[in-house]
Amino acid sequence: MSEINSNLFFLFKNLPLLLNATLTAILLTFASILIGMVVGIICTFLRIYGSKIVKKIEFAYEWVLKGTPPLIVIFIFYFGLGKYLNLGPFLSAALALGLRSSAYQAQIYRGAVLSITSEQTEAGLSLGLSKVKTFSIIIIPQAFRLSLPGFTNEFTIVLKDTPLAYAVGLVEILKAGRDILNQPLTQSITGSNITGSLNPFAIFVVCALLYFILFEIFSYALQFLSKKYEIPGFITDKETK
């Protein structure tokens, strides 16, 4: 039989492994983004409303995380901290990618909050709203909309960084592909007369395709969200001018 058929057979046989790996990649993306969001929002508050020292500490935090390769941060969590507490590959990767993302998300949210004029806050306060209510009713809903394009970008970047977790043994898509490639060919084809070898090109293209499909789905979903919450006249006006 042809080489193409043997590759297809292999992929089909390993479909559960690939789908499981895809699910892991999705979970890792969501966990990292969520960690990044929580920490990022806290960082935003500290940077905008904190005292001078707090602002400096927050700045340093962002600076360090932006300047360090994420793979090294994963290693620090997995091997470095592994001596003291066993986080496991998933949690190590989620924390590393999440904290790195928090630095970028903080920047996205800060930009959004700062682009809302102080008059908006003053108008809220003038009506008799408290500071907290002004922030939650007036500022956050606008900042949320303004951060969506940047957030979409950050989300897809985190998604595409998940293969780094391969390095600590997490079975995400890339690791699954590599595992499939390493399987002895003869074992898998008992009862059939398929011959030949598995093509690395085919399996890695399939891996890339899986990422691309995820990228498309998430980009589309987030763009849909942007459209849904678009303020009438607000965005289009600026684009047509």
Binding site: A123, G124, L127, I231, D237
Partner: protein, 254 residues
């Protein structure tokens, strides 16, 4: 017996080392319309921001209905602010809310009105400024004049004791100023108490019962508009008023 609605007593305010207000005092009765004029950077806007405590004064006292509001604890400040309407130079409408939601927001979130009543009242206020047809439009879909009228309706909805206008027409195209001034004139005639920072001298002449001329953080001269325009005692007042009358005075003649 005359009871002052608002008393401003010797108010001082500095930003950094720069003194913006240097001992300003005046009184306001119910139904008064005061117009504050003066060169830019004289502290006119800061004075308004002191009155509704957005920038609390450093020194001096402000009384609203005989209550000193400058010494209140922070927790009481929102309850004072809801009694004082504010209209902003750049409108400051909430961009993510439609016109009617802008007007109803304070009623629902501050006055805790139920939604049906709040929207009914909001619609009445929009009607008052002639914008009930545009109630579902968002700020970005309204003209400058319409935005400012929504801003006025938003202040009116709270049933304030007085409304502060911070240069309400200076960000508008000339042909849109008239519609906003008309709404303000109608309000004045309905007996609304107003303090307006504006250079619209036509407006000052037709509805103000007092014009205050400020310079360098101080009140130079104050008095009824006609008196100030024709027989100002201070030379600087005469100079300034004749200059802005040339620029703005004609826009209200129809």
């Amino acid at each position: 017996m005359e009871e002052n609605l608002l008393i401003v007593e010797n108010v001082e305010k500095s930003f950094g080392s720069q003194k913006i207000l240097d001992g300003v005092s005046f009184k306001l009765n119910k139904g008064d319309v005061k117009v504050i004029v003066g060169p830019s950077g004289t502290g006119k806007s800061t004075l308004l921001r002191c009155i509704n405590l957005l920038n609390p004064p450093d020194k001096g006292k402000i009384y609203l209905q005989n209550t000193e509001i400058t010494s209140l604890p922070h927790s009481k400040i929102p309850s004072i602010r809801q009694k004082i309407g504010m209209v902003f130079q750049h409108f400051a409408l909430f961009n993510h809310l439609s016109a009617i939601d802008n007007v109803a927001l304070g009623l629902i979130k501050v006055k805790k009105m139920n939604k049906t009543d709040a929207y009914n009242k909001a619609l009445r206020e929009l009607k008052r400024v002639g914008l009930d047809q545009h109630k579902d439009k968002y700020p970005a879909q309204l003209s400058g004049g319409q935005k400012q009228r929504v801003g006025i309706a938003r202040a009116l909805a709270m049933d304030p004791l007085l409304i502060l206008f911070d240069e309400p027409t200076s960000a508008l195209d000339p042909e849109l100023i008239g519609e906003v001034l008309q709404v303000m004139q109608d309000l004045a005639k309905d007996g609304m108490t107003m303090i307006c920072v504006t250079h619209e001298m036509g407006f000052a002449k037709s509805v103000a019962n007092e014009v205050i001329f400020m310079e360098k953080g101080k009140i130079v001269e104050q008095g009824p508009p006609l008196k100030l325009f024709t027989e100002a005692t201070h030379p600087r007042t005469r100079e300034f008023l004749s200059k802005i009358s040339e620029l703005y005075g004609e826009s209200e003649k129809k």
